[in-house]
């Protein structure tokens, strides 16, 4: 199965992926608020988050993560487009956004522009072999 592997330790927070993603899905217009990948930035840490299936309502219970000794709400790194936060929803229409790997075969533009190596596409070769 194609996957985008995220190594947050390599992410430099340049957000070029956000620009590339929105450009791909909006006929060349750039708008990070419409990107299906967002970089969660806090202090000196950057966490790329790629949108998954949307949800209609907020979770009724939550998990807290402890990362580098700091506590984070589950929403922070959640992949869902959810009514409780503006991420992964079009700001003007509220339409939910979900990563589609930029088509089939997968050609994710976020990975293409990521020079730091934080994003990597894996599992494509493996799938080709299986198909053969």
């Amino acid at each position: 199965m194609p996957r985008i592997k995220i190594d947050h330790k390599k992410c430099t927070g340049c957000r070029h992926c956000e620009a590339a993603c929105s450009s791909e899905h909006y006929d060349g217009s750039i708008n990070p608020k419409k990107s299906r990948i967002r970089i969660f930035i806090e202090g000196e840490r950057f966490y790329p988050v790629i949108s998954g299936p949307p949800t209609d309502a907020e979770c009724t219970s939550k998990i807290d993560y402890v990362l580098h000794g700091e506590e984070y709400d589950e929403c922070t790194l959640c992949r869902a487009s959810c009514p409780t936060r503006p991420w992964f929803r079009e700001p003007d229409t509220d339409v939910a956004l979900k990563c589609d790997f930029c088509g089939d075969p997968p050609d994710p533009k976020c990975v293409n522009v990521c020079i730091s190596g934080a994003l990597e596409l894996t599992g494509v070769e493996e799938e080709k072999k299986e198909a053969a």
């Binding site: 927070g13 340049c14 957000r15 006929d27 217009s29 990070p32 991420w87 522009v113 020079i115």
Partner: protein, 615 residues
């Protein structure tokens, strides 16, 4: 319009009103963005003879044309005004995230006019503009200001996507070397631009934007972006060395060739430099590297000193800060450097001018001109704690800080040694010793904003090409031959194609001009040719020169500091010699189409479409 948002936000702080104007497409094409558009507006609307800290000055934030398009490193923008430091035109370049957020809110430029009667901040949330009271922020440092503003936003997600530019106590106290800081550690530092913001009682500008930025020919644009990224990937220096060590990765190299100044430009090529190199900071203190919006080179990043007197998390300094705050102050302790850099960021001060003042104070002290009783402390070269104390005193105009805050040779004059301030047009000299690169000597002297190295980075050919290639680009650093031509070409091109377009100069080590031009042309959709873009740069340069001439800055100010003119180089290719800037200058003026006094001739102005703009 494409790439440009097409709108200018004009804010009258005295009346607390604002207007939104259209950006004229022809104006945008001719002046591109950033310092270009800002220069023309300043030239047309601000009398160069006014008091820079008075009501008539205008403070302009102007984004580069490609900001927000995803062009590679397309983020650089400027804050511009008449400078309270030099008295000439001021434009201070900055990256980070803030400029892109302004563009995504739908504005290419923000023009601030007048003076608010009480401290205010400007909120921009797409079309919703508000001028709000900022009494509770006045007196706070830059970091506190950003934290407080973000904590006041109800929605934490929106707070995360909100970007802030602000001044610290230095700007509030009208310190003439104050910076405007954004994203906490990104500085629009030079020319004392922070004091202009302070004089307007404007504490902060807050931006949140959700609009699209379009490009004219997406397919061709994406191709040009990919070509540039490919070239950066292929360049060891751009994709490996720069992210790892930042621009300060060149400290060791520039020390070897005698360009890194030591002890207020008294010495060069001392072996201690390696202790304070970019490598030393990266290996010992860097937490991670960090990039501005759409920049793969990520030369910044947080760095931490874990214990001792300089403990704390700060940001990796840039080469200039390394050079001037380190070796030029005789400081070879990276921890003192990191602390000094962080204090400047926190209080909102230009690290370069601050460091030039400190190295001057240290020499005054060591030579016995400045008594310890006046300083209230020992000011010997290498004293990191004195550096930190002087930075704090300057922000609050206490002790020697009162003199330092006035910038230029104020401190040096007070102690009878004006020539110990190393600077040009009252601005502290950049961290490259002119005695080992004559093109750079001429460049700093002719820069339209003062003692600044970044209007044309001749060292690409005078130093870097010798060591890292391409060899055919290398020129003799201490020959005068061809330097005026080379410099003028670089100034014109860099102004338009790099600075106004919004590219970062650092990126040119990976994406040279032939890769920049297609990004600009396909994003804006303007049917530019490369020579047209360069002529736009020349036009902008001439306007800046005219502004300065009208402000009273003349040929007499196009002069190297006495030390660099008269005391011969002690190492490097120029050993035993000094650059003859006067000779080069004559030729440079002639090439520029300026008269012997450096005044653009009516013919030159007419040729550039600037008829009737002469003195």
């Amino acid at each position: 319009m494409h790439a440009w948002a097409g709108k200018i936000l004009r804010v009258d702080l005295s009346e607390r009103e604002y207007d939104i104007e259209d950006l004229d497409p022809y104006f945008a094409k001719m002046y591109i963005g950033a310092q270009g558009t800002a220069t023309r507006i300043l030239y047309d609307e601000v009398d160069p003879t006014i008091d820079a800290l008075g009501e008539e000055n205008k403070l302009i934030f102007s984004t580069g044309a490609l900001v927000g398009t995803g062009a590679v490193t397309g983020i650089r923008s400027v804050w511009a005004a008449k400078s309270p430091l030099t008295g000439g035109i001021a434009f201070s370049n900055v990256g980070g995230y803030f400029p892109a957020e302004v563009k995504f809110a739908g504005y290419d430029m923000i023009i601030f006019e007048g003076i608010a009667d009480d401290p205010v901040m400007l909120w921009i949330d797409d079309d919703e503009i508000e001028i709000m009271d900022a009494d509770h922020l006045w007196g706070k440092d830059v970091f506190e200001t950003e934290d407080i503003i973000k904590s006041e936003i109800d929605d934490p997600w929106k707070a995360m996507d909100t970007r802030i530019a602000s001044i610290g106590p230095a700007g509030e106290n009208l310190v003439k070397i104050a910076a405007i800081m954004s994203d906490k550690h990104r500085a629009a530092a030079r020319c004392g631009i922070g004091a202009v913001m302070g004089s307007k009682n404007l504490k902060a500008v807050v931006a949140h934007g959700t609009k699209d930025v379009s490009v004219a020919v997406p397919e061709a644009f994406n191709k040009s972006v990919n070509a540039a990224l490919g070239a950066i990937r292929a360049s060891e220096r751009a994709s490996k060395v720069f992210p790892a060590y930042g621009s300060a990765g060149l400290v060791n190299f520039y020390n070897e060739v005698g360009l890194l100044p030591h002890m207020n430009f008294k010495k060069m090529a001392l072996p201690e430099a390696h202790k304070i190199s970019g490598q030393a900071v990266a290996d010992g203190y860097l937490i991670r590297n960090q990039g501005c919006f759409s920049c793969p080179m990520s030369c910044g990043g947080p760095a931490e000193v874990k214990e001792g007197p300089f403990e704390g998390v700060s940001h990796r300094p840039e080469y200039e800060t390394h050079a001037l705050m380190g070796p030029n102050c005789g400081i070879y302790d990276p921890e003192a450097l990191l602390k000094g850099n962080n204090e400047c960021n926190r209080l909102g001060i230009d690290t370069m001018d601050m460091a030039c003042q400190v190295s001057c104070a240290m020499e005054l002290y060591e030579e016995g001109h400045l008594p310890e009783s006046d300083a209230g402390m020992k000011l010997n070269f290498g004293n990191g704690e004195a550096l930190v104390t002087l930075i704090q005193q300057t922000a609050y105009r206490e002790g020697l800080g009162e003199l330092i805050a006035e910038g230029g040779a104020t401190l040096a004059e007070k102690y009878g040694q004006p020539d110990l301030f190393i600077g040009v047009k009252k601005m502290g000299y950049a961290g490259y010793d002119a005695r080992n690169a004559y093109g750079m000597a001429l460049g700093v002297v002719t820069s339209t904003r003062g003692g600044c190295h970044c209007r044309a980075y001749t060292l690409v050919r005078e130093a870097l090409a010798h060591a890292f290639g391409p060899k055919e680009m290398a020129v003799d650093p201490v020959s005068m031959q061809g330097k005026a031509e080379m410099l003028m070409m670089m100034q014109n091109m860099q102004t338009a194609l790099v600075d106004c377009a919004g590219f970062c100069q650092f990126s040119m080590s990976g994406q040279p001009p032939p890769l920049l031009f297609p990004q600009l042309a396909t994003a804006t959709g303007v049917n530019y040719t490369m020579p047209e873009v360069v002529i736009n740069g020349e036009r902008i340069w001439n306007l800046q020169k005219m502004f300065n001439l009208k402000a009273g800055i003349t040929k007499a100010d196009d002069v190297l500091p006495k030390r660099l003119r008269e005391e011969p180089a002690t190492a490097g290719p120029g050993k035993g010699k000094n650059p003859d800037v006067e000779t080069m200058l004559k030729y440079y003026y002639m090439l520029r189409g300026w008269d012997e006094e450096g005044v653009p001739t009516p013919q030159k102005l007419a040729e550039l479409g600037l008829e009737g703009q002469g003195l």
